[in-house]
Symmetry: C2
Subunit: 419 residues, 2 copies
Amino acid sequence: MMERLPGFRDFYPEPLPANEPWSCDLRQHIFRCWRETARRYGFREYDGPPLEPLELYTNKSGAEIVAQLFNFTDKGERAVSLRPEMTPTVARMVATAERAYKKPIKWFSLPQLFRYEKQQKGRLREHFQLNCDLFGEADVSADAEIVALLIDVLRSLGLTREDFVIRLSSRQAWQRFFAARGGDAAKAYEFYQVVDKLEREKPEVSAEKFAALGVKLEEVTQFIAASVPEPELQAVLDNLAARGLSDFVKVDYGVIRGLAYYTGIVFEAFDRKGEFRAIAGGGRYDQLVKQVSEGKVDLPALGFGMGDVVLAELLKVRKLVPSFASTVDVVVLIEDETLRADSLKVVQQLREAGKAVDYSLTPAKGDKQFKRALELGATHTIRLERGTDGVVVAKVKNLKTREERTMAAGEVANAPQSS
Amino acid sequence: MMERLPGFRDFYPEPLPANEPWSCDLRQHIFRCWRETARRYGFREYDGPPLEPLELYTNKSGAEIVAQLFNFTDKGERAVSLRPEMTPTVARMVATAERAYKKPIKWFSLPQLFRYEKQQKGRLREHFQLNCDLFGEADVSADAEIVALLIDVLRSLGLTREDFVIRLSSRQAWQRFFAARGGDAAKAYEFYQVVDKLEREKPEVSAEKFAALGVKLEEVTQFIAASVPEPELQAVLDNLAARGLSDFVKVDYGVIRGLAYYTGIVFEAFDRKGEFRAIAGGGRYDQLVKQVSEGKVDLPALGFGMGDVVLAELLKVRKLVPSFASTVDVVVLIEDETLRADSLKVVQQLREAGKAVDYSLTPAKGDKQFKRALELGATHTIRLERGTDGVVVAKVKNLKTREERTMAAGEVANAPQSS
């Protein structure tokens, strides 16, 4: 039997089949929380193409990134790639159309992203990612707004201060650290990458790499251990304190972010127990719009991305996945086939009143239909019955209380609320 | 400046920039109506990968379809393709996991689909499509349920019986027509394709093609003009009549659908004025699951697809696009910078109460902030003020009535509802 490609996911409705761990219900729950929180912060949704010109990525990150891309040559001889991240796309869109929008521009998107990762057990080649970005505000108040949004996105999913923390850091603090030790400015990004890998690398390997850049490992680890907030970070802390969000953040220079384009404050969200990789990450990238627009548009920018994979795992472990057992409101039982047409009319009326309604498409025993109503998590059943006087009445049963009420068939559309 | 690929769309938030016609707000409005109506019919959401093995499409439709695919060889030497339609994917998913689900399986999805169409003005290479499918029910009651769902999806967007009609037809009726005239069963699909092109082809071309298959054009046109409902179609009509949906359908054998896999009732939705291409189309495909599963799973199936492109154009022409002008509920005005921290607290409280809130990230003149509140379509502004006694109070203004109320700063979270 034909199978899906390795590293790709099918999203099934619950209850999930064996060996199919990805619930479309959970995915849509996450998407709803993402959208709803972005809305509360006044962020507007956008989307771009999942396929982009290859140079959108190579220009920014250099040719070595191609090894990790789903890139190919299309039938028009264009070098193209499935998008590995959203930031270049949104920078392109903003650079193209920023004049149509008041600043700051506050946008979000929920793209599916693709990377041709070397195949490992459980390693995926696609994921969904909430991207929230803010353009046109250089002030640190924007950094605080973005971090507050990240915190509230995670809280909207039921996660608390016990569950996660945002580690705040600063590329500029590290730049000053490096410069103060005589570091070559042209090698600053190389230095940041060694810092970025510090937590995953053997100390002697890091020490050697730092030494080659003229820096001592001990100085780096002391700088991280102290993590004294520089003025911009202190302003972010004060801003978040005013909102009552202090417990969700800490300054930690151990975070520096891997991507080249960050220029200011950077941050990552982690689970407090340290069981998972980063839940989300982001920062300020004030040069990218200028770069993507070849100098035509210059807008300060910042944002974050949050993937669905680590997040879904964390929600499962913390038991924050809601039940998706109830899929309909009402099941219309058709026990008398001579009343099928009348029952269809009731089905239609209920659906037009906004109810999710199911019924048996073909004749079935009454107890089987009733059992199905329970399985579907319906709150009510409705069945039509012809009285001895020939008049058709509706029996509306509340499945919680098991109370049954009788009413005229034409009156059922609003009955499930009131009974 | 770097541009997106030809035939792909950026979706911008409103108000739209010049030359960018695709509104993400309108797209999300359409998606919400699609999801909400599918939910009312008890359909469950699923999704599959946008990239699939190439043979998923070539096995079903033959090698000639490759010319229209975004296909390539990936870094693992796999022949892969961006999905051109969703039906093969859902047939694969159902064939894999059907045992975990009670029948009938009622699923929907909102995939983005890709075709490498020859480049023409305005011709797109991607679109979004609502796919609704039902598996495991051979009875014609399922066909009626799917057609009713299609009708109600269009109605949920504000379209009425004046705007659209579903043209119902039957592959079996055509099969009998062809067989009765001595048609070669092996050439039935070839015959269907000539019928499918009839409305777009010159009569003499169609006549010649029919003649080669042993059929007279006049017989075909008479058969279509009469469009006498065969028994299955009559059952669908009766079923829809019971729901009060008769005005939305008509039998019209001029519809036959282009794809090879249909086996029974087929249908297309059209605008009544005939200004647009088909809005949606579908039908029964009882052999596809068996084919995709190489004979392991045999489930009758049917469904429809509805694209976002024709639909969005139709909604615009019929003036059924809602206003997306209001993007926040409340704007917090910060006129006294010494009250910024207190104002941030108010912003946070309002957002935690579910309100969409905006405010100026940096100091700005009061009238400029107020003007921005009007532009954003806020219903209320809130500003903090320090009284002569030093106590901070909140002024809550209803922007419709222009009434302003004064209250304690801590009480504003629920004020916008009640004022």
